[in-house]
Amino acid sequence: MASVSASHLIIFIASIVIAAGVAGTLTNEVGRLSGAIDDIGVDLSQDIRTDIEIISDSGSESGGTNTVYDPSPGDGDGNVTLHVKNTGSRTLPASAESVDVFRDGQFVTDVSVTVVDGSEWRVGNVVRLDIDTGDLSGGDHRIKVIVGSDEEVFEFRV
């Protein structure tokens, strides 16, 4: 019964091909999922290791205004200078793109980041944030600094 053997052979080949396709797809997709899990693990680990502290003195005043605020640095706009210490367990990127600053709830775009005591923002090192806040009205103000997943708030009086 050659016709039966031929049909059996065709079905066998088809089933093997389909099984190989399923196995290959399964392996590929799980491989992609594993890569994503790896990336998530790295990101989560970095977030956990990130910790900063704003070390500027909120109680230091001159003429009733906190000395972090300079109303006239020379370019016509008010400027707030904050010092931020790396108290985590990893080196942080010292660039304006990696630090988000909010002034009284408003996102500030003009921020410069300078490492004060070294070439990198290593653990224990301090950066200076020069924040162009514009002219601040008298009264209470707050600056929120976000690096990675860590947020710190600095409140002061003008």
Binding site: H8, S15, E29, V30, I37, G41, T81, G88, S89, D117
Partner: protein, 162 residues
């Protein structure tokens, strides 16, 4: 017919095992990274809990017999239960940051009773810092000084003697 079913099942089973092996490796790596960083973060928090400092003296001394130029003298006591590193200590004088290296270049920094060569500031010891005015401090006769230890625990005090 029977062999094609067995063969297909075998291929799919092998593929499943390979996929599980890849998934297990990635999950295991990710969990290990996260666990390790959580452990480091826990150690940092514990160190902060054990850290305490107190500024016992912040005095502005005019130029004279003791010092050739105006000098800010700060004495800080390590009142915590963990040793600190002097290299990671920062000083904020009227919101001007003075780094450890600036103090060493423009003044003195010593653990009382142990001298200037040590970087260790152990519990119960007093760190004495002298900051000369001329090139480090932007204001003469400052109002406040804040000292920040390595883990981030800080103390502040008003300066006397102005």
């Amino acid at each position: 017919m029977g062999f094609s079913v067995s063969g297909s099942f075998a291929i799919i089973a092998v593929g499943t095992f390979v996929a599980l092996g890849i998934f297990f490796g990635a999950a295991s790596n990710g969990a290990e990274l996260v666990t390790e960083s959580q452990s480091d973060a826990y150690d940092d928090r514990l160190e902060q809990q054990n850290t305490a400092i107190e500024i016992t003296n912040a005095t502005w001394v005019a130029a004279g017999i003791l010092f050739p130029e105006e000098t800010l003298v700060i004495e800080i006591n390590n009142t915590g239960s963990t040793g600190l590193e002097i290299n990671h200590t920062h000083y904020v004088v009227d919101n001007d940051l003075v780094t450890h290296s600036e103090v060493r270049s423009n003044g003195d920094e010593e653990v009382l009773g142990e001298g200037s060569d040590t970087d260790l500031w152990l519990p119960g010891e007093t760190l004495r810092v002298e900051i000369q005015d001329s090139s480090v401090l932007s204001t003469s006769c400052p109002n406040r000084v804040k000292v920040i230890s390595g883990p981030g625990i800080a103390d502040s005090r008003e300066v006397t003697g102005c």
